[in-house]
Symmetry: C3
């Protein structure tokens, strides 16, 4: 961990220091109840507000100024964002050393940028381009004809198949597979005949892909992930899927072939999306949803089969009371038999 002064942190996160102005070498960033006098802490969730009274932190990231605190206040508009910036300063990513480890295998025709960091047992196949400052952890394999931008980080045992294009500052976590064949077969009687998947994969800048994801290559064109999009772990993108910019997808979600997902979409965990549909910009899909048709922009969807989230909540309310509904229905049946017999009596009486 690099050592920084409090004043460096304040400057780096664009905050204003309110307090004694005492500068100190920051130890780390810690939760309010765990921070000591050399630590910086933060309040982003108001429910921890009480901890401000007892924290031993030397400084706290806050959106407001509180008079007379024993700690100094770093006033910022968004403590969570300031936290991200300060952590980036205090804890730079651990990378392999600059250079190519002697056990790495670099096949002919590869162009390596300056300051690449290629660790032990990495395999780079022929005709690959790797940009400046990119780091490949042990056991990662890059297929031929792939192009990787600058300052990317691929963690251990990542697999890129051939003809995968990756932008700059892309992070791919361990065990992920980019460019595996899409699931495409023709039938010849009962037999499946493989359709060669001749497309590739294109990934924009500033994308992060979690651990053990699988991104299939396109059948003819490219599977695409646009800039700024973040995937959690164990996400499956089928062939020809296109994901827009600044979209976030949580773990264990699967997107079927040729579906297009817009910009700034949020998809929760364990969601399944059928193929050949469109999910509009800024749509939100909640956990375990099974999306069966296209989703307009800015729509919140839930359930399986999927429906508008608000309707889903009400439907679940009714269904959760299905037992009550059933017993009400039975009560009505009894009641109607009762009424019917009364009416028969009245009719009989009348006929008297």
């Amino acid at each position: 961990m690099t050592r920084w002064k409090l004043s460096d942190l304040v400057r780096h996160c664009g905050g204003t220091l309110i307090g004694s102005g005492r500068d100190f070498t920051v130890n780390s960033l810690a939760a309010l109840d765990q921070a000591g006098p050399a630590d910086v802490s933060f309040l982003s969730n108001p429910k921890y507000r009480e901890s401000l009274k007892t924290t031993r932190a030397g400084a706290v990231l806050l959106t407001e100024s509180i008079p007379g605190t024993p700690f100094q206040i770093i006033r910022v508009d968004d403590p969570y964002l300031a936290l991200a910036r300060i952590l980036t300063l205090l804890h730079p990513t651990r990378l392999p050393g600059i250079g190519v480890h002697p056990t790495a295998v670099i096949k002919p025709g590869t162009r390596l940028g300056s300051n690449v960091r290629i660790d032990a047992n990495v395999v780079v196949e022929s005709n690959v381009t790797i940009g400046d400052g990119t780091a490949l952890f042990p056991g990662t394999t890059i297929g031929e004809d792939s192009i990787i931008g600058n300052d990317c980080i691929f963690y251990p045992n990542v697999t890129l198949y051939h003809s995968v294009n990756v932008g700059s500052r892309v992070i791919i976590h361990a065990g992920s597979v980019i460019g595996s064949d899409g699931f495409g077969f023709a039938r010849e009687g009962a037999k499946y005949i493989k359709i060669p998947q001749i497309g590739g994969v294109t990934i924009g800048d500033d994308v992060e892909i979690g651990a053990c994801c699988t991104i299939d290559r396109g059948s003819m064109s490219h599977t695409r992930i646009s800039s700024g999009t973040k995937l959690d772990n164990m996400i499956m993108l089928a062939h020809n899927v296109a994901v827009g910019e600044d979209t976030a997808i949580a773990a264990q979600t699967g997107i079927s072939g040729s579906t297009k997902i817009g910009n700034r979409v949020i998809i929760a965990g364990q969601v399944g999306v059928v193929g050949h549909i469109k999910i509009g910009d800024e749509a939100i899909i909640t956990a375990k949803c099974g999306v069966t048709k296209s989703v307009p922009e800015k729509t919140m969807l839930s359930g399986f089969p999927s429906m508008i989230h608000k309707k889903w909540l009400r439907v679940q309310g009714v269904l959760g009371n299905a037992l009550k509904m059933k017993s009400e229905l039975n009560a009505l049946k009894t009641k109607i038999v009762e009424l019917e017999s009364k009416i028969t009596q009245l009719e009989d009486k009348k006929d008297d």
Copy 2:
């Protein structure tokens, strides 16, 4: 990409050429709206029929003959199947070079067939048999006593544990794990005691296994995948599962221990199947289904708990209208109170 003449393609896919008979060197296969004069295109989905009027393709795969088209027609019975065959010709699979890369580790007692392609950093443990023409991409590990047939392709970072038998022409995509221990424990009080999993895995011919799948070894006998079966990515087969021939399973589906799946079954994505049941031949299980009991052959199943697909559709119709049903129920309750009061009035009148 290998270069072929149009006439080669026509012969290879068993089609009939209708048109000028002009032969040309084919550039590639492309969608109707993207093909140029040196490309072959195809129409398999009738909804793209309009594109036939504007395509610049040199030749198009069609089931029929259309007079006076600017392109030549390759008439075939099944354009999708012809497409598969032509793509296989135009785009042969990219494989590592023939031979054993100097960084590969081949332990003693291994028998390598002719023309094997073993890439960098592959590890083959003792007493393994690898058939003719089989290709192992970087970082793949083959456990001891395993037997692999001819012309298999294992992509990077595949793991085979010991005692796994694989047929010929089997493709395993990157990151998949074959032969990991089944999840089997005895209890000793609150503690779990591992039951060693002494079975293996047997995989037939022409099987394809997607990326990041896990196929557990059998507890005593073998976990089995029969010939011609295709698994998409991230599929989990638990110990002692048996999958029949020519079955297709989509991504993120899990099959619990000892379940037997028949031949020509289709299972969609994110399905879960409980253990110790049978799924009959040619059954179809739709996405996200939770199969809780055995399924007769040729049955289509949906939902969780699972039910016959047609019933599920109708049940979902009703449930999606649960709000309406609830309000109808409330309306009936009000109505009955009304009727009851009228009857009481009548009874009172009568008694007058």
Copy 3:
């Protein structure tokens, strides 16, 4: 396979031998209908009781004594537990040879215990501690500053990131990733800004982690798996999750960030659990459940949204009959119209 005498097995599993007392060299352990005279078999599921009459096994693990059987009986309290012990004796885990394979890369500052087994192409980064007898299969990578206890087994292509602490006798199956970054981002307008994940992962003793699991590191503190807990394949634990002791989680389940799971909990497959909740000790969560709020101890939960299992069963019963309910509702509507018309007639008559 090591060879043992029947008398060794009887002693090892704590059983009592009833029969001829004839000792023999045991071939293997096999199912009743597959065992031969040199095999030991077992009856743990009463439904296979009939097979006792026809088995050719030399000895059978039973909870009771049956007079006059052709096989000898090893009487034990729990045949399944005895089976686990005998299999452990007959089939010790296959491990790489003792020592460090010449192709393994051990970076400076690493402390290796005695009798470690480090196979080909393993990479151990700087400042790692590996305990006595621990085995690392090919392609496994251990990140810097990690500490691994004694007698652990990590199968091929496992990735440990930096600062992961693992106890003793821990088994991690192939392709699993421990210590990948949690999914944590701040927003700056539409852009996601990565929050460095500075916590680690701590794993207790006797934990088993299946193939292709992903255990994210903590955001500030550690993600934790306590001693004796067993995870099946493809399980996702998000940052800051804590799992208690002797808990079992089945395949393809995901636990969202900061959720705490108690001791001796059982979670079935394809379950999703939201973040920031608590699952009490000895709770049971059934397959495909979506757990949306904290669960008291010893509670059995099902469905999505989750509810008490018994209620869920009854609700599913009603919902499965939704079509019948709907038609009953329609019948009541018709009936009420009928009654209403009769009442009107009566009212008319009365007014006559």
